[in-house]
Structure formats: C-alpha cells, structure tokens
Symmetry: C2
Subunit: 434 residues, 2 copies
C-alpha cells in the first residue's frame, strides 16, 4: 500500500485551483496556485469577495525569523507542526528558515508533506489501523529518501507497528523511528507512567524494522507552565534511563521533544537542567508561532516574555493572520451583522476581535482602527454578530479586518489564503490541504 | 463581472479528486468523483482510512422522501438550504424529489449551484459589496436561464442593489427578485419593524431591474416555537400589506418564506391562519432534514412530532450522517482516545455521540451497539477524548461510529463524504464545495 502512489504533481505552483474556491474573485480566470500573486488583486481596492483570509507576509517572515533565532540560540531544532497550516508553501518557508522536519498529526498530512517534497516528517501520533501503518512503511521506501518518526503509547500499538514492519520491511538504514509518548493522568494520548514508558521502549528496541528514537510529550494540554514542567522532565528522565539501559541503537539519533506553542520557553528551561552521556537532539514542535494570533497565543507569548529566564531574540511574535468581512447591515444601532461565520474563522478559543475597518469607496487612504466598543458576541454558520457603539462609523458595505484566536481552526476553513503586503495587495496564494 | 465565467466543467462526476483529499484511501488511484462508488471499498473491511464521514444512502433517501411528502401535503414548496451540505449531488437528489429551488448563503455558494446546473437559487442574504452584487446581476444573464431571489434588509442595501441594476441591467423578464427580510430585536439580519419593512418594499418596487418578490424570515434563531410564531406572522402580514398597497408587479410570483430545520411545523401552522387575495407560494428553506442528526435536530424533530397539529407523513427523519474514527489507545481504563477531532466533526451544538463499534479483524459480522457509559468529553484539533466504562470492549485499532449534531458544521469539514449502503459499502462519493 503506497502512501502516495499516484502523485505526479510535485509543483504546488502548477496546481490548478478549483474555480469554486472560497476567497477567489468571482470573475477570476482559471488559474493555478502560482498565478494568484500576479493578478494585481488588492483587498482594499475591493477586488476580493469577502470574507477572505489574508496573511501579512512581512509579519509572517518576521515570526519565522524570530523562531529560527530562538531555536538556534537555545540549542533546539524545530519541527514545526504542519497541521496548523497544512500549507506546503509555509512548510517551504519554515524549512528555508532551518526547520529540521515538519510535524504532522495524521497520515493524510504525512502524505501532503511527501507529495510536496518534505524529506523528514515527525508524525506526532501513534499510527493506528492497517491503512495508516502500511502507509508509514511504504513511505520509508520513497525514492530520494524520506525519514519518518512517529509515536507509540501502548504495547498494543507497538505490536501493530512491529506487524507492519514484518508485512513491509523498511529498507536497510531507514527504519521507522519511534518516540515513546509520555502522557499524564486525565490527559490525551501518551503512556502514564515511567514504568510503562520503559516497557514500551524495550518493545520498540526489540522489534526488527523499528528503532527507538527517543521520548516526547505534548505539554500544551496542561493548564499552566508549572504543571507542564513535570511532563517535560519525564521526557528527559526517560531518555536518560533508556540510555543507561542501552536501548538506543548505536546508529540512532537520540531525540527528546516537546512543545506546543504556549510553553515553549519551559521546554528549554527544563531540558537545560539535564546533562546526557550521549548527544541528544532537542526538537521543538510549535506550530502556531508562524502566524501567531490575536488572542490565545498572544496571551501565551506575553506570559513567556514576562516570565522566562531565557534571553529572547529581538522583536517578538505578532499576529499575521486576519479574516476580513463586510458589514451586511446595522439592523440596530448597537448591533452590526457581517459576512463571516463559523465556517470562516476559529471560534473554539475566543471569538474574533475587530482590528480595523475600511470603506472601499475612495474616501479613505488606509484602514483605520476600530474603537474598543466594537466586539463580536456570536457567530452563526455564515454570520457575525458584532456589538457596536451607537456612534460607530460602520455602515453597510464597509470592510472590517478581524484578528483571530487559534490559527489551526482558522486555516482549516480555507483551502486558499491570500498572502498580502503591507498595503493588503495580494502577493501570493497559500493553498492548504485539509 | 461574470459569476462563473470560467466554468467548463459541468459534470461533477467527471471532476478529478485531489489526491490529498481526506477520507480517500492512501493507495487510491487517481480518480474522479464518479469513480468513487465503483472501487469496491468497504468501511468494515478496513478499506478507508479513519476518520471518515459516511452518509447512509437508504436513510438519506427516506429523509428526502419524507420532506417531499410533508411539503406536498402542506401546500409548501421547499428550497432546501444548500449551505448545509454544499454537495451538488445532494442538490440533485433534492431537486429530483421536488425542490423548487436551492437556497444559498453566499455568492460562492450561488456560484456552485450555477456551475452544477441548478436553475433557481434563493440567496437567503442581502448581497453586499460590489463583487457580490455584480455577480448577482451577471448570473441573471446565464444562458439557458437562471432565476435568482435574494434578500434585502436595509435601505442602504437596496440602494446598492439598485446601483448594481443600473451598472448591469438584467435581461427583460428576469429581474433580480427580492424578498424583504423580517428580523427581530436582538436577532440577526432583517428589518426590525413593519414600518421599516414596508419602506423597503416600496424602495424595491420603485427600482428598475429589481422586483419585489415577497417577504421572509429565519425563525431558527429564536429560542422556542412560541417566540418564532410572531416573526412568521410578520412575514404573512407584510405580504398582505404589500398586496394591499399594490407593490407587487402583476408578473411577480408572490412568495412568503421561512424555515430553518427546528420549527418548520410552526411555519405551516402560522401561514395557514392567513388568507391572501392573490396566489402565494409558501417556501420552506430547511436544510438539515436531509441527513438529520443525532442530537440537536433529533430533539427538535421529537418536539415537532409531539406538539404539531399537522398530520405528518409516515416514518420520520433519521440520522444519516456518521463520522467513524479509530481507537488510538486506551491510556487509562476509563479513557479512550480516538483519531477524530474538531477538524472532522461538528462541536458547536453538542459533542458527537458514539453509536456502534467494530473490530476489523474478522471476528465480528456487523457493528455492535456501544453501552451508554461511552461518551465524548472533549475534542482537540485531531483527537477525541471518550470516557469509557472499565469493562468496555474497545481496544486500540477498533472502529467507532459517531452520530453528530449540526450537519452544517460536519459537512464543511469534508471535501468528500462517502455514500454507503446498509453494510457500509461505499456506493458513491459526495464532493462538497466550501
């Protein structure tokens, strides 16, 4: 079972966009992904139908550079979580800025990475089910080379992977590399005890075709940085224990990994406390840093800046992703309805925040700030309910740009996002694969 | 500005699927939408990677037939809300079962209808912004004929539409047909007063290229059937008032319309109270009846069955849409993690409910029920947290089928859903366009 046996498209830019793609002008010609940036479209000129999701390319580039500096200064590599954006163009940017691998959550996502030329993927889940497991082993045979790391969190799971290796043995020198996933009581996946973890590590080390590559956790489910510390410590302690027990193959690259986008400072601080007898690769897997956001991760980053003992690079993360909608009507003075809904913007970690507005009739030279009295109170499937001060300047036909919370659940609502310059002129199209 | 000037694909079955489409087997050959049903795939044989969204075709057909009978028996026509599914194959089914039009929420959705041959669309929103308005008038010139109804809820909005008609006059005999949208204080769009509504009706009637077609509301935002009654009554009362004032063109088909999927019995009951001096078309716009659901609309339908004074057709609506996921691990006896998350299933009106399970190792002949002690407590982006009885039969690699709440926000997470028979064999692919 080949993971992607049918792929002859390797250039994303050459991929033709479906003409019904949300966000494309209604009168757009047939075009490829690569054509989007050369159409001369401008958000503020009214060329784009709203709602539309835009990414400010200067902010994006600065965020990517900031994380590159942060990881370099702290003896980390990054395998940014690709599930956030599922945009191969953004994977390319991250790799160009030094990403060691791309992280994925599912085999469909691994397939997208493979399709568009990513050479090393960390699948941050235990592959389960014969289609997924067979696809993993198949991917190891990719011409030109492909390294795949995945997780294990149960002996049953390891047994399934070992069966997969028997069915479809990996090529010499390219085993399925496995990190034991550490979890916590009441948490998500991941083995709950150190005893369970060492048993898993032994089972992996003993299985032909599998290689113990290290230990990892996802601490982002925990409520506070303090509670995350213990889980991160488990990862380092287990790696040490497995070294002492000689469970790593001599050829193995030994990895310790953690890191959502909320507590990545703590990952460094805790890992720094441990010294290892063998070289260890410290892999951070944050995904949301790239576009950042205006609410949840904005607050998380503020906490990092205020609390961390680390020296942070100049500048900092800024929100790059905005969704723009149009005022449909103001049926009551204090209530404005806009053309944006649950299908267009994340709503699972805070409702979008109005940032600025623009009237596309030639009367304004640039978007203007909106006063704090404007706030979103509800989203329906295709509508946004915004409370507005009675003297708000907004009227039907005005455009409003919103900051979002939780990039993952905004990206997945768009198969095409627009990359824009500082004047909101479209410079490219970011195709996503959800 | 043509709405869809670039469409040469008119056959959905001939459309090639992107190889990265979620839900497709990893080793699927390149295929078109029309090929999906002839691959011999079976959910229970383990051919599909999980998660996958499936629609039981027998239940779907029965729901469609039930609504067809309900509307026919109650002097209604249905313009089912296409935004729910955005699946042109399902539009075809609805039209074959007598749908008078397809309802849409956005111009992108109108474009999808037009692309795949729908001849009459009710856009249940005020078009706003030059791209959207120009696209409306452009669509009226579609070769072979295309009737477009839309809403208006402010004088500014009508002025924009009138300008659009001046820029791009509709062809003789095919004006932009407009329903005045009635709203309520604290609600969504829609004019708040009868005085405001009659002013709008006059403005529409006076504008060349626009035609007053009637009045409508969306009562589904109201908390109870009793509160919905007043809004439905407004619609009928306004139509009567506009008739008395002579605002309808003699050629106009006069429409009164309402109807989400929760209170559609009340629409009939309230409209039945009014008699009109001219023929009136009563248009229901429910969308969720087609797949129905296992939670929110299941409860709403139960209320209808218990309370309505109407004679209902035999049978009733049943849930047709399920999302299947795989047990990834049971890291604690009472907690099971599955391969399904916010990106795969609706979570805005209740978390999914586990219905049945299956072990794809040949030991079971059919899915078995799950005891009530199994319940979903949380979803992350790509994970499902399920509480399980300690003696639950579930283990890693087992499949679990979930019922969903709110079809609209499950459909939009899949660009391809699988149509299945009673044994979960794939009989077709439903491509969606969100």
């Amino acid at each position: 079972m080949a993971l992607i046996p049918r792929l002859d498209i390797v250039s994303l830019d050459a991929l033709e966009l479906d003409p019904s793609t949300k966000g494309l002008p209604y009168d757009a010609p047939r075009l490829t992904v690569g054509d989007v940036g050369s159409q001369g479209w401008s958000l503020l000129a009214g060329d784009l139908p709203l709602p539309v999701a835009v990414i400010r390319q200067d902010v994006l580039a600065a965020n990517s550079a900031w994380m590159s500096a942060f990881t370099a200064e702290n003896n980390l590599v990054i395998a940014p979580h690709g599930k956030t954006t599922m945009s191969p163009h953004l994977f390319d940017l991250q790799i160009a800025d030094g990403a060691w691998a791309i992280t994925a959550a599912t085999l469909q996502q691994v397939g997208v990475c493979l399709r568009f030329g990513v050479k090393r993927v960390l699948l941050a889940n235990q592959p389960i089910g014969r289609p997924a497991i067979d696809a993993c082993f198949s991917a190891l045979h990719t011409e030109g080379g492909f390294e795949l790391y995945c997780l294990a969190d149960s002996l049953d799971g390891v047994a399934f992977l070992a069966e997969g290796a028997r069915r479809n043995p990996p090529p010499e020198g390219n085993p399925l590399r496995i990190l034991v996933e550490m979890g916590f009581i009441g948490g998500r996946t991941g083995v709950r005890t150190r005893k369970g973890a060492i048993e898993l590590a032994r089972a992996i080390a003993a299985a032909p075709g599998l290689e113990l590559a290290g230990f990892e956790c996802f601490e982002g489910m925990l409520p506070t940085p303090e509670t995350a510390d213990g889980l991160i410590d488990d990862v380092a302690a287990m790696a040490l224990l497995a070294m002492e027990e000689g469970l790593f193959a001599t050829s193995a690259r030994i990895i310790i990994s953690a890191g959502g986008s909320a507590f990545f400072d703590r990952v460094v601080e805790r890992f720094d406390l441990v010294s290892f007898p063998y070289p260890v690769l410290r892999v951070l897997r944050s995904g949301c840093y790239l576009t950042h956001d205006s609410i949840a991760y904005a607050a998380a980053f503020k906490r990092i800046v205020e609390e961390t003992t680390l020296q942070l690079p100049e500048g900092g993360l800024e929100p790059a992703l905005e969704v723009w909608a149009m005022v449909q009507s103001r049926p009551e003075g204090g209530r404005t309805m806009l053309t944006m809904g649950k299908r267009d913007v994340s709503h699972d970690a805070g409702l979008p925040v109005p940032l600025r507005w623009y009237r596309p009739d030639g009367s304004m030279t640039a978007p203007a700030e909106l006063s704090p009295g404007h706030s979103v109170v509800a989203l329906n499937d295709q509508h946004c309910h915004m409370i507005t001060p009675i003297d708000s300047p907004l009227q039907a036909g005005d455009m409003v740009g919103f900051g979002i919370s939780h990039p993952c659940t905004t990206f997945d609502k768009w198969s095409l996002l627009m990359l824009v310059d500082e004047d909101y002129r479209v410079t490219g199209g970011l195709k996503t694969f959800f």
